[in-house]
């Protein structure tokens, strides 16, 4: 059941993500307004199409369909010019609009064929339902396969590489006071755990703990520090170290609401006095040691639940 839901949202996601230019047909067969209806008949017959945009000097001036041709045939007006028989009020779409826009317009207007313009008004393509479906299927196939391959490769690393103890170590150097870089290391750690096949709840717990540790290095350390994560099949170990200034009272630092962050940092929304507590709550175990003038040493352990129905860390 969950899989079904996931697939539906993947398609919905693509409808929003894909631009019209990603799926439209680019080589548009057009007809000039000074062509005769007789010439149009030949064009439609030879190219096996049921209509064409009418273009004069690169600009869209109308659209002509098989229906218009049949009317002209009935009334014996095959020598009339396309320009006099075409529909001039044309519904168009822009190339950079999301595909969902086209889907909505098609269902609202009942038209099945939309000329596509760039923002300067030049005709750059044509879009029918067929193109949308083909485009979606193409993209769906590519993304699903890419996801699958990437996940398979990464998640089997521990099975493919045999040793007495295989571990994967990720190291990140975090600079002091580098607020714009804040969150970069923890985002990467979270993504790495997901890629290795860890369940999302576990990836999130480790990600949040790593973020708080990363921000502590940025806010409080003298010269930055190192964030190290070691992944083994049944556990993730995080070690965060810096060379000062150190925490005077570790117990006080662990109490909720206690913070030594200066006002300018608090104004950015840090220094709530929750950081170390958040790490402790996310981890299965945490140890904090610090010596003033020497540095701080923070360790956290996260158990990885067994693949089939583990109780820790929630459902996959």
């Amino acid at each position: 059941m969950t899989e079904h839901v996931a697939e539906v949202t993947k398609v919905q996601e693509l409808v929003y993500e894909l631009r019209i230019e990603d799926v439209m047909k680019r080589d548009v067969i057009t007809v000039p307004p000074h062509a005769s209806m007789r010439e149009l008949k030949e064009l439609l017959r030879l190219r096996r199409i049921s209509g064409a945009p009418v273009v004069e000097e690169g600009r869209l001036v109308g659209i002509i369909s098989l229906e218009d041709l049949i009317k002209a045939l009935e009334q014996g007006e095959m020598d009339a010019l396309v320009g006099s028989k075409m529909t001039t009020r044309v519904e168009t779409l822009y190339a950079d609009e999301p595909v969902v826009q086209a889907v909505n317009r098609m269902s609202r207007s009942g038209f099945g064929r939309f000329p596509v313009l760039d923002r300067s008004g030049k005709l750059v393509g044509i879009l029918t339902r067929g193109e949308i479906i083909r485009g979606l299927l193409r993209r769906l196939e590519v993304t699903l396969r890419e996801d699958e391959i990437r996940r398979y490769r990464a998640s089997h690393i521990f099975e493919d590489i045999v040793s007495d103890r295989t571990s994967l170590i990720l190291r990140y150097w975090v600079k002091a006071k580098d607020f714009t870089g804040g969150g970069a290391a923890s985002s990467r750690i979270k993504r790495a755990i997901e890629a290795l096949g860890g369940n999302p709840a576990l990836a999130r717990r480790v990600g949040v703990a790593a973020y708080e540790a990363e921000m502590n290095l940025i806010i409080h350390s003298d010269n930055g520090g190192e964030l190290m994560v070691e992944i083994v099949p049944d556990q993730i170990y995080m070690l965060v170290t810096d060379a000062g200034p150190g925490i005077a009272d570790v117990e006080q630092a662990m109490s909720p609401g206690f913070s030594t962050a200066p006002d300018w940092i608090r104004e950015m929304g840090f220094g709530a006095g929750m950081g170390l507590l958040n790490i402790k709550n996310c981890a299965d175990e945490m140890k904090l040691r610090s010596v003033v003038g020497a540095g701080t040493w923070l360790e956290a352990w996260f158990r990885i639940p067994p693949r089939n129905g583990g109780a820790v860390g929630g459902a996959k």
Binding site: T9, Q12, E13, V15, Y16, E17, P98, F179, T180, G182, G183, A184, S186, S187, K190, P200, R204, G207, V208, Y211, E212, M215, S255, P256, G257, F258, S259, M268, G269, F270, A272, G273, M274, G275, L277, N278, N281
Partner: protein, 121 residues
């Protein structure tokens, strides 16, 4: 309710992200990032006055459905670029966080029940 419906109902401006289809699982309001880290849940919508790059990191780590920046505060270009890059939905409201929370509540979006009491320090 999807993010798209929230955008339409509250008249929000979309500053970054394309995940308008996502379902909103609840709401959370705070300007303290660690509180958000501790309390906001996956798929929540987060209302804040903060508009710097770390807001995006929080949204990405927690996999939030969207962030609403209140009082029309404009994030800088780098923040928007980071949101686009990490696929985080950033919305903007001219209203205060209080009013936005009220509008979300009226729309049927709820916050989580309190679990642990935290003494303010």
């Amino acid at each position: 309710m999807t993010v798209e419906e929230v955008v339409a109902l509250l008249g929000l401006r979309v500053l970054a992200g394309r995940d308008l289809w996502r379902m909103v699982t609840g709401g959370y309001v705070s300007d303290m990032l660690s509180c958000v880290m501790a309390k906001a849940k996956e798929g929540n919508i987060w209302v804040t006055l903060q508009a710097h790059q770390n807001v995006i990191a929080v949204g990405s780590l927690l996999n939030l459905a969207a962030i609403i920046i209140s009082e029309g505060v404009e994030p800088d270009h780098d923040t928007i670029a980071r949101a686009q890059d990490q696929g985080v939905m950033v919305l903007s409201s001219l209203n205060s966080s209080f009013t936005v929370a009220g509008q979300l509540y009226e729309a049927g979006i709820r916050g989580a029940q309190p679990d642990v009491a935290v003494s303010a320090g």
